[in-house]
Symmetry: C2
Subunit: 151 residues, 2 copies
């Protein structure tokens, strides 16, 4: 492929995010990590990913501060991979992907896993809000280039 393009230098945060976690496997590994998986073999079995690819992905996810390798609590010798805060903060991305998928990628009546509030058992929502908390539609959002924001 003569080296895949990188968006690391782009001024758009979405582009940089995709540069970091935008490949086929990384977000699924993160999803499984949210689901409580920690070990190489668990990820491998859950995803059906080739082991060399998994090893490489885990390595880069660790490099990028999304996972952290830790020694297991039970004193075992194997390695565990845990989400960092940075990794946990990918949660909204996962929820957004999930909601879109639920809506458009499943036949009516087809079953799928669901994300629920642990305490009430009710489904979770993801809302786009104005700065003062009012719901907002996509039409009202505008991307403004950095020159106009002076962040």
């Amino acid at each position: 492929m003569v080296r895949r393009k990188s968006f690391g230098g782009d001024y758009c945060p979405s582009a940089r995010s995709l540069d970091v976690i935008g490949d086929w496997w990384s977000l699924l590994i993160v999803r499984d990590a949210f689901d409580g998986l920690t070990r190489f073999g668990e990820f491998q079995k859950s995803l059906g990913i080739a082991k060399n690819i998994l090893a490489q992905r885990l390595r880069t996810l660790v490099e990028r501060g999304i996972l952290i390798p830790v020694a297991p609590a039970d004193g075992g010798a194997h390695q565990e991979y845990h989400l960092t805060d940075k990794g946990r903060d990918l949660f909204p991305v996962m929820v957004a992907l999930r909601q879109w998928g639920e809506r458009y990628l499943f036949a009516p009546g087809e079953v799928h896993s669901t994300l629920v509030d642990r305490e009430t058992g009710k489904p979770i929502r993801l809302d786009i809000l104005t700065h003062d908390g009012k719901p907002i539609g996509p039409g009202r959002a505008v991307i403004v280039p950095p020159s106009e924001t002076e962040d």
Copy 2:
């Protein structure tokens, strides 16, 4: 690569979503479409993508119902690519990616584009809420398999 794995049959909505828009370019094309770009050349210039790849991605995005080819309003002969409702509903995904990127992928003080409310000019938020609208942290969410939900 001996054919990339597909998650189209997975019961997890996130996985299916990634199967549809999880490649390197699709979401960036969608981002540009949100930004008002409609023509082949506009996408090509904005993204710096190879033209063959762009053509292929536009084709699959159309196939998958995220973009729709329309004749331009000014009667020109060229093709325009517009977001469908399905495509517009990817908005939360983009916002989520953007917020994560803003937080973790920019140096303090480094400028980036911003997503603002067109009417007030203030930044937009994305919140995870319980079913009755209370903010919630990632820790309280649980993924439950389809067998337990009977959706």
